[in-house]
Symmetry: C2
Subunit: 224 residues, 2 copies
C-alpha cells in the first residue's frame, strides 16, 4: 500500500430517496465547480489503465482527484497514487455499488473542494452501479473489446444511464470477433444520444477524442 | 428467439434462510442423481462459448440441460438452443444473482429430473452471485485472460466459493500482460484447494482437462 493512502469504509444511505440525495449532491458540486465523473465497467475492462493515461495527459490543465471504490482491496488506489493524483480508496463492505450518500462521504474524506475533476471509479460491475444515481455530473461506461459487442442487449440499464461509452482495448480487435457496427446499433437502440468513443489506453489510439470529450464536459459544467 | 424457447421470471426467495434452502435443494438433487453446476464470471468472460463447446463434447455421454440467467435478454439461451441441449431462460427482474429458491423455480420449469448435468449460467457478475448459495453441486468460475490476473485480490469471495477456476481465452495470452503464476498465487491465497484450469474454448487448448474434471465431478456426485 502506498504511504499515506487513505482508505475509508463507506456506509449505505439511510435516506429512502437516493435520487433526491443525488440531485442535491449534483447541485452542490455544480456550485463549487467540481465535475464528478462516475466511471463504470465490468471487472477488467480497463478503468484504472484508462484513468492513469487520462491523468497523465490532463494533470497540467486541471486539478484532478480520484475515488477508487472496491469491495475490499486497494490495488487500484495504489496504482493511481503513482500518477501523483490525489486519491482515496472507498471500501463498500461487500456492496456492489455506490449510492449518493456513499459518494458524498468519499468526497468529504477526499477533500474534493477546489478540484476541477473528480473521478469515481465505481465497483467493477455492469448491473448494480447502473441502478444508483451517485450524484455525478456525467456517467462514463467502458466496454472492452474482449467482452463482446452483445453487452448492451444483456445489460441495458448500464447503457441507458451512460453519457459516454468508451470501447476500450481496440488494439486487440484483430484477435476477437467484435462487431463495432453491431455494438453501435445495440447501444444506440438503448440510448440514441450516447456518445461512443473507441480507444486503446495502451497505444493511445482514439485517446485524443476521449480527452476532448472530457475537457468539454468539465468546461461546460463550470460555465453553464 | 428460438422456437419453443421458454422464458420464466424467477422471484427472490421469501425464505429468510437461503443457506438452509440451498442445502435442501442440494440434497434433493443428490437423491435424483442430478449434478447442478453453477457457472459464474464477469460479463464477457466466455461462459456461453465454453458451454457450447462443453455440450458438443459431452452430449453423447450424458443428458445435459442449461438454465440461462439474465437480467432481461435471451441472447444466450438462443445460442445454447442451437446446440440441441434442453435450455430455459431465467429472467431475474433486475437482480444481479440467483438464490436457491430462484434456482429451484428454474429447475422445475426446465424439467430437470432425469438429467445427468444441469448447468446454471449465472448473471455475469463477480460480486453478487458469490454471496448466494444456489444449491449447486459445484461452483465454477471463469476468469478470462483480458480481465487480468489481479481479480482474485479484488473479488475475493468469488474465488473463495469456487471449486474450479477456468482461465479462459488463453489463445490471446500473447496480447495481454497476464501473469499466470501471479494469478495462481493470488487465487490459492484465497482458496488453497482451488483447481485452476487454463483453456481456450476457441482453439480447444486445455479443454480435455476441463471435460475430465466435469466428468469426474458428475460421476462422483452419482456415486457418493
Amino acid at each position: 500500500m502506498g504511504e499515506g493512502l487513505k482508505i475509508i469504509e463507506v456506509k449505505q444511505s439511510i435516506l429512502a430517496d437516493n435520487d433526491m440525495d443525488a440531485q442535491n449532491l449534483r447541485k452542490e458540486l455544480k456550485a463549487k465547480g467540481v465535475f464528478l465523473l462516475n466511471l463504470m465497467s465490468s471487472p477488467g475492462a480497463g478503468k484504472t489503465t484508462l484513468l492513469k493515461r487520462t491523468i497523465a495527459a490532463l494533470k497540467d490543465e486541471m486539478r484532478i482527484a480520484v475515488m477508487e471504490a472496491d469491495i475490499d482491496s486497494d490495488v487500484d488506489a495504489a496504482a493511481i497514487a503513482q500518477t501523483g493524483a490525489k486519491v482515496i480508496q472507498l471500501h463498500t463492505g461487500g456492496m456492489c455499488h455506490l449510492d449518493a450518500s456513499m459518494t458524498r462521504q468519499g468526497l468529504q474524506a477526499l477533500g474534493a473542494d477546489g478540484c476541477d475533476l473528480v473521478v469515481l471509479e465505481n465497483v467493477g460491475n455492469l448491473v448494480c452501479p447502473a441502478e444508483f444515481d451517485t450524484g455525478a455530473s456525467k456517467n462514463a461506461v467502458i466496454l472492452s473489446v474482449p467482452e463482446g459487442h452483445d453487452k448492451p442487449q444483456k445489460y441495458p440499464l448500464m447503457f441507458q444511464v451512460a453519457n459516454v461509452l468508451l470501447i476500450s482495448k481496440t488494439d486487440v480487435l484483430p484477435y476477437f470477433d467484435f462487431d463495432m457496427e453491431a455494438l453501435k446499433k445495440h447501444a444506440h437502440y438503448r440510448n440514441p444520444g450516447l456518445e461512443i468513443l473507441p480507444l486503446s489506453a495502451r497505444t493511445g489510439d482514439g485517446f485524443d477524442a476521449w480527452l476532448d470529450w472530457l475537457r468539454g464536459a468539465v468546461r461546460d459544467w463550470k460555465q453553464q
